[in-house]
């Protein structure tokens, strides 16, 4: 009797398993295809403002970092969640991003007035504006989502992404990017003026200046 039941059930079970496997395969392939094919529409790019610039970028800082955000979820606030947490299990939601970005530093030459530049004979007197961070760039293509569990709102994601900019600026400060940008700007201006035939270029800093005697060939 038992043997007969097994004989009857087995073909059905095999068929069921095969169907489940085929279904799982199709589902998996479908999900992969869906991830690949999610494309945006080709919408126009609208120019909303045009601004003339005179920014001399002379130094660039590059960094990569890991950004992590954790928050409790519905399960972690339950008794079971608390128990799991007590046992050392991580039940919170996580969002881990890898970001790379750049800080571009230099001078805004638009800040210079007529009084900041003087040419007397073969000497140029230049008072350069203070160096500054001109751009802090972390674009969507600079982010990689390394781990993501739970549901994250747009505001939570962009909030975490924004911290990358703050950290980039801290890194740029640490490496003395502004002073390097200033030195680079002096080199660039010197090259231009020497090429134009000036022999001496004097930079006036607050409290000091550098004199660069360059022979005219």
């Amino acid at each position: 009797m038992e043997k007969k039941i097994i004989v009857k059930i087995t073909p059905a079970a095999v068929l069921l398993v095969v169907l489940l496997l085929v279904g799982a395969f199709l589902l998996h392939r479908g999900v992969r295809q869906e991830k690949r094919s999610l494309a945006i529409d080709d919408t126009p790019v609208i120019v909303s403002k045009i601004r003339s610039l005179g920014e001399l970028t002379t130094a660039c800082y590059y960094d990569e970092m890991v950004l992590t955000q954790t928050k409790p979820n519905a399960f972690s606030s339950t008794a079971l969640g608390s128990l799991a947490e007590g046992l050392g299990k991580d039940v919170d939601d996580h969002l881990v991003l890898i970001a790379k970005g750049t800080v571009r530093a230099g001078l805004d030459l638009m800040d210079m007035t007529g009084e900041d530049v003087r040419f007397v004979g073969d000497t140029a007197y230049i008072r350069l504006p203070a160096p500054q961070y001109l751009d802090v760039i972390v674009n969507p293509s600079d982010f990689e989502v390394f781990a993501e569990t739970g549901k994250w709102t747009h505001e939570e994601i962009t909030g975490l992404q924004e911290t990358a900019r703050t950290r980039l600026l801290m890194g740029a400060d640490h490496y003395g990017l502004k002073s390097k940008a200033y030195a680079g700007a002096m080199d660039a201006v010197t090259e231009l003026l020497v090429a134009s035939g000036y022999t001496y270029i004097r930079f006036d800093h607050p409290g000091s200046y550098i004199r660069m005697p360059i022979p005219r060939d």
Partner: protein
């Protein structure tokens, strides 16, 4: 037992040497990192365009999925164009002090930077039906990457490079006139 007693100090010595090597490698990595972290450059940004774009995606899903998902994000990007002065040298300036003439040859303007700040990306609309899952951070970022790519691709048609060339000509004319030159010729390579 004796060979083992001899082997242990030898192994320890090898480990010490290896750990020493690792330490040096770490220091070298740090130095290398410091060198690579900052790059010198000479770029003159002459115009900035602020552009906006709607990133729109509709995901009806595969045949076995019930319902759909839609998302609408608006974003702003700042494009800067100008001259890369890395290739600009003394040979590009021809000075005639007696005639108060100068001719300068500069490279054509290129796109120097594209900044699409996260703080200026807004979610305008997000609709997900019951049997579908929400847009993940990875999916959102993938959509925004495509938006960034489309903005970058639109640069030739925006007129930003022509505007930067025009500003470059004005900039160099102004600089050399300030130096006392009466005739300034600016040409592009």
């Amino acid at each position: 037992m004796r060979p083992l007693l001899h082997t242990v100090p030898l192994l320890l010595a090898v480990l010490l040497v290896l750990s020493g090597c690792n330490g040096r490698a770490a220091v070298e990595d740090t130095v290398q990192r410091e060198i690579e972290a900052i790059t010198a450059m000479k770029q003159l940004s002459l115009v900035e365009y602020r552009v906006s774009k709607i990133v729109k995606a509709e995901d009806e899903g595969a045949w076995y999925k019930i319902g759909d998902r839609k998302i609408l994000l608006s974003c702003t990007a700042y494009l800067k164009a100008g001259i890369d002065l890395a290739t600009f040298g003394p040979d590009d300036v021809d000075v005639d002090w007696s005639g108060k003439r100068v001719s300068v040859t500069i490279p054509h303007a290129t796109l120097l930077s594209l900044d699409m700040p996260a703080s200026e990306i807004r979610e305008e609309y997000d609709h997900v039906t019951m049997f579908r899952h929400s847009f993940t951070a990875e999916e959102r970022n993938a959509l925004l990457r495509q938006g960034e790519k489309q903005i970058r691709g639109s640069v030739p048609s925006l007129g930003i490079l022509e505007k930067a060339d025009e500003n470059a000509r004005r900039f160099f004319e102004s600089v050399f006139q300030k130096m006392g030159f009466e005739t300034v010729e600016v040409s592009f390579r």
